[in-house]
């Protein structure tokens, strides 16, 4: 029944929700966004620095009129897409050291046809990808993690009619260091920084050995990121402050971001996770978007995340990460699961998912058999002298003969 409702919603989204077309500039500027999001994800995974993590996602927009492209010539029918995966795995070196390897990949853009692996490469297509990889080392005694690696940004196709010339591939490098709940992250291109992030994860998380409840779980998670931005060859760097705050039992969170020195309020999101493991979630968000001419507008939206399907409408995350898409439903099929000491959790969770321990199916035959065996076990007899006699069943005789067994006979 549920899947039918999902399809109904999707068809409705395709039928009447015609979004504002996405601007061509958003596609050409998408590289920094992709690289930064991957590093943010890696930062979340490095909170533990061991265990494993997998995240696979595929954005699905069924109609070619849903996310059209706005080029200088007009409005083109087609599909905006975002395919991504992130995998992290670690090995135990000794009792306190863990070595990890991570790969994050994302391919995003716009094409006149949709696809799984092989794009159409239309005249107005813009397809680029970012691959981030690296190694991590975690020392559990010090509670510290160090990770570093490379980031490759590749331009697969940019239609010459609609987009300016871009470098086809760029090599960045990045590093991440964490000591307890303080972390520092940087990404660089040649000798200049691209982003520098300083995070204070003050919230106590049971998953990583913190408090289960109490005031420590209500401490804020703060981060400040310096973004390098060039405008007409002038450096116009800005700082984005982010404050994530547990509001109620690690199931309700507020997430606010603010830009300095110019820009001001960027977005605010209220999130509700029915379980602190964050495998399911609901969110409502408000984003302040810049429009042409300097005027500003608040964009209200929300999203529902049912473990493998996320449905969003005007949500701040999708506006930022899906080329400023607005006014339409965006569905994303994804799996996003972390494993840590045999426990499972979703991205950024504070607690592990409750594990299934009871077997709910009732088998009468099996039950009777188990009961009979239990009765037999306790079936001891007392002989005439008052000694306990245990009747053994199914005794196995083993012939112990050293010479006979040697030589493999």
């Amino acid at each position: 029944m549920k899947i039918k409702k999902v399809f109904l919603l999707l068809s409705m989204a395709a039928g009447f929700a015609f979004a504002d077309p996405i601007p061509a500039e958003a596609l050409t500027q998408g590289g920094l966004q992709m690289r930064d999001r991957q590093l943010q994800d890696i930062g979340l995974v490095m909170r533990g620095g061991r265990g494993g993590y997998i995240d696979i996602g595929y954005t699905y927009t069924p109609s070619s009129e849903q996310l059209q492209l706005k080029s200088k010539y007009g409005v083109h029918d087609g599909f905006a897409f975002r395919h991504h995966y992130g995998i992290f795995g670690s090995w135990v070196l000794d009792s306190i050291s863990h070595l990890g390897f991570l790969t994050w990949y994302e391919r995003a853009g716009w094409d006149s046809q949709d696809f799984f692996f092989f794009p159409h490469y239309g005249d107005f297509a813009h397809i680029s990808s970012v691959l981030t990889w690296g190694f991590s080392y975690t020392n559990t005694k010090l509670d510290a993690t160090v990770a570093l690696g490379l980031q490759h940004q590749n331009l697969e196709k940019a239609g010459w009619r609609a987009y300016p010339d871009e470098s086809d591939s760029l090599l960045f490098y990045w590093g991440h260091a964490r000591y307890k709940n303080v972390s520092f992250q940087g990404s660089f291109y040649r000798n200049t920084f691209q982003t520098l992030r300083f995070s204070l994860d003050l919230e106590s998380r049971e998953l990583y050995g913190g408090a289960k409840s109490g005031y420590k779980t209500y401490l804020p998670n703060l981060s400040a990121t310096v973004y390098r931005r060039k405008d007409n060859d002038d450096d116009k760097n800005f700082v984005r402050l982010n404050w994530e705050q547990n509001l109620y039992k690690q199931t309700v969170y507020a997430d606010v971001s603010y830009d300095f020195p110019k820009g001001g309020f960027h977005s605010a999101t209220l999130k509700y996770f029915p379980d602190p493991s964050r495998l399911m979630g609901f969110e409502a968000s408000c984003l302040r978007r810049n429009e042409i001419g300097g005027s500003r507008e608040l964009l209200w939206g929300g999203a529902i995340d049912f473990f493998i399907l996320r449905l969003a409408y005007n949500s701040a995350f999708d506006y930022d990460n899906m080329f400023r898409a607005k006014g339409t439903f965006i569905a994303e099929f994804h799996i996003d699961l972390g494993a840590f000491e045999g426990k499972f959790f979703g991205r950024g969770a504070a607690k592990a998912a409750p594990m299934e321990t009871s077997n709910k199916t009732f088998d009468l035959n099996k039950f009777m058999k188990v009961r009979a065996e239990q009765q037999n076990l306790g079936n001891t007899k007392v002989d005439a002298q008052g000694n306990k006699v245990i009747e053994a069943k199914g005794i196995r005789y083993e012939k112990v003969d050293g010479s006979a067994t040697q030589g493999g006979n």
Binding site: I3, Y60, P62, S64, Q68, L69, K72, Y73, G74, V75, H76, D77, G78, F79, S112, Q113, D114, F115, F116, H120, G122, D123, F124, R161
Partner: protein, 169 residues
């Protein structure tokens, strides 16, 4: 049974997600028929600010004739410009000259807009530019057309008021 249903759903999903080109046209095969009494010199897609031009039909189409079919990736809503060698009727004269104030200021460009209701839809543009290339004499008409993809047929004709009429089939 449960897994079969899930599998079928996935098959349907994967088909719609990568086979959309089977039922969606991502190119337009355009043919233009000239029902006016003047020669059409070509058809272009022009950018909204009028500074970029992408030629589509390059044939000169004599009155009463059809162009060749040309396939291009234009699916959506675009501004189309049809150029004529002359126009036997009322035109809107647009005369521009190029002015440069200082060496650092780029030449001012005057942008074209679609004609308002009741005005002639054929423009006659004379540009006396800064360089020889900028000297242009052009008779043309502009309109926004919605190309749905596939085979499309554009009829350019002259209406009772002496204006250009476009009909896209």
């Amino acid at each position: 049974m449960k897994y079969l249903r899930l599998f079928l759903c996935l098959v349907v999903l994967s088909l719609t997600a990568c086979m959309s080109h089977v039922f969606i046209d991502t190119t337009t095969r355009l043919q233009v028929e000239n029902k006016t009494d003047v020669t059409i010199l070509g058809l272009d897609i022009i950018s909204e600010d009028g500074t970029s031009v992408q030629p589509w039909i390059r044939d000169a189409i004599e009155p009463g004739e059809k162009s060749r079919v040309v396939e291009e990736d234009w699916v959506g809503t675009f501004k189309v410009r049809v150029r004529f060698d002359k126009w036997n009727g009322e035109t809107k004269k647009l005369s521009y000259y190029c002015a440069t104030f200082t060496y650092t200021t780029p030449p001012i460009r005057v942008y074209n807009t679609l004609a308002k209701q009741g005005e002639p839809t054929v423009f006659e543009k004379d540009v006396n530019g800064c360089g020889l290339e900028e000297n242009v004499h052009m008779v043309y008409s502009e309109t926004d057309l919605d190309f749905e993809g596939g085979s499309q047929y554009l009829i350019v004709s002259k209406d009772e008021d002496g204006n250009v009429a476009f009909k896209l089939k």
